[in-house]
């Protein structure tokens, strides 16, 4: 009776999580008569009486205020259509750019096809129509560098607590790195340093579940780059430089 699973346990759809009415269904769960049943593959997360699922896989679904990296794939009458590595594309309005754009101006002079940019999700409708904006500090077109694709659900691990992980990689490789919530990571620096940063991110992605990740990454990065790293709390990190 009661709760049938442990916190942080892996559950699959159809698993019965609790068999009485004492628990409240959260994200990724549903109620079937008196049973609380799982509907997503993921880890159990208990918050008081609320049982919810932290997904381990799945596509990026845009949420308001997410910082994402996008690619321009169409130019509209008054804006751009942006591929944000999600089932749904986003629209960047010409009013939402850093510079003012005159009426009838050629939009491709600001953002051309296949150019990448960092932007912020400003609105998501029930039909998943997405608006993004480039009018905030640090939001801009991305020039140079490279973009790699990581699992969306590993992004918090790559960023680390208050950006500690990503700032450590930056410190070690002196690359500029932007981690988008949509699983795209932009890296710009010396070519061989970029490679080190990519390796480091891949390592985080595959080893994020093994304890002591931060210390391991520190040792790893010090070994590869020879830079002595101080474990900062990411004090100088603002996510976008």
């Amino acid at each position: 009776m009661g709760l049938l699973v442990k916190d942080k346990q892996v559950v699959v759809p159809g698993d019965i999580l609790a068999d009485d009415l004492g628990f409240i269904p959260g994200f990724g769960t549903y109620r079937n008569n008196h049973n609380l049943v799982c509907s997503r593959l993921g880890l159990i997360n208990m918050e008081g009486k609320v049982v919810k699922i932290i997904p381990l896989s799945g596509k990026y679904l845009p949420r308001r205020n997410d910082i994402v990296i996008g690619r321009v794939f169409d130019i509209l009458m008054a804006g751009w259509r942006i591929d944000i590595n999600s089932p749904y594309s986003a629209v960047l309005s010409s009013k939402e750019t850093p510079e003012f754009i005159e009426r009838n101006e050629d939009l491709s002079r600001h953002f051309d096809l296949d150019e990448h940019l960092v932007c912020k999700v400003t609105n998501v409708t029930s039909q998943n129509l997405v608006d993004v904006s480039c009018r905030d500090q640090g939001l801009r077109k991305l020039r140079g560098g490279r973009i790699i694709n990581v699992n969306t659900h590993k992004v918090p691990r790559i960023i680390g607590k208050k950006g500690s992980m990503v700032s450590m990689i930056k410190q070690a490789t002196s690359c500029r790195i932007i981690v988008g919530q949509n699983g795209l990571v932009w890296i710009d620096g010396e070519p061989d340093k970029e490679n080190i940063a990519v390796e480091a991110i891949r390592k985080i992605e595959t080893e994020s579940h093994i304890p002591g990740l931060t210390d391991r990454m520190k040792t790893y990065l010090e070994e590869v780059t020879g830079v002595k790293l101080s474990l900062s709390d990411g004090g100088d990190y603002n996510g976008l430089q």
Binding site: D7, V10, V12, P13, G14, Y30, I54, G212, L213
Partner: protein, 277 residues
């Protein structure tokens, strides 16, 4: 004449040896392999993704699209002509219906989830095997679903009810004298384990009503065994995560297992922007 001993020596209630693996196709959003005896199915799931042509989009919910394909060298002897056939189109359609009974795509309007089922090797029961693989792959892709559908073929030969037929049993009159086509039936069934509902039911042959009910009863029991294999395959893929996530939490190693970081949905943005604002 009756069917007293199975051609491959199994019990009448016994399934063929099963094996399942999740996440075997890297490029796919979710994937799985399912083997029942000599029948092997691979399923790859892509999506949810944008659906074109646009007129096919459904603004109320995402759509599920299945494609069943037997590889040319997969059959028993004869080469299977590649490309869609009447048979493969029908199986694609029933697979789609069997699976859409559990998947919930209301969160992805106008989108599509594509399921590609490939069979490199078949020995009867391929649609069941395909559904089993596809159900694992859909869960692996992180698609919201009520349950993992399990499918199994139940047959009737002479006076016996036979679980999980192979090719010889499906064509029993060719292999066993005294039985005619009237004495054998093949009934593929897909079951939603948590409710016992049936999401696929087809039949090849003729049976009495009472026999059909008995067969469905056996199908349910067999489907539970199939389902166990499916669940274990998914849990195995993330097995390392269970323990270590748990440990990490308990020994409190500095990184990431506080709520902010584990919870993808809440505070990541604060992380990125803390110092900015």
């Amino acid at each position: 004449m009756d069917y007293n001993k199975r051609l491959d020596g199994r019990d009448f209630d016994e399934l063929r040896p099963m094996e399942a693996k999740a996440g075997i196709i890297k490029k796919a959003d979710g994937s799985a392999m399912f083997r029942m005896g000599n029948t092997v199915a691979y399923a790859a799931v892509y999506g949810p993704r944008e659906l074109f042509p646009k007129f096919m989009q459904d603004p109320k919910k995402g759509i599920l699209r299945c494609n069943y394909n037997m590889m040319p060298f997969s059959g028993a002897g004869e080469r299977v002509r590649p490309g869609p056939s009447r048979r493969s189109k029908e199986i694609s359609a029933v697979t789609e219906k069997a699976l859409s009974a559990v998947v919930d795509l209301s969160d992805s309007p106008n989108a599509v989830v594509d399921v590609y089922i490939e069979l490199p090797q078949t020995d009867a029961g391929s649609r069941c095997c395909g559904i089993n693989a596809a159900a694992i792959a859909l869960a692996d892709a992180g698609i919201p679903m009520k349950d993992i559908v399990a499918a199994v073929a139940i047959g009737h030969a002479g006076s016996k009810i036979v679980v999980d037929l192979n090719y010889e049993e499906e064509h029993l009159p060719h292999y066993l004298e005294g039985l005619t086509d009237k004495d054998v039936a093949d009934i593929p069934v897909a079951i939603i384990p948590s409710t016992g509902e049936i999401s696929l039911l087809q039949m090849d042959g003729i049976v009495q009503k009472e026999v059909l009910f008995k067969a469905l009863h056996k199908a349910k029991a067999a489907a539970m065994l199939v389902n166990e294999v499916q669940r274990n395959a998914l849990k195995e893929k993330f097995a390392t995560n269970i323990e270590s996530d748990y440990e990490e939490n308990s020994n409190g190693s500095g990184f990431s297992n506080n709520d902010n970081n584990t919870d993808v949905s809440s505070d990541n943005n604060d992380n990125q922007f803390d110092e900015n604002n």
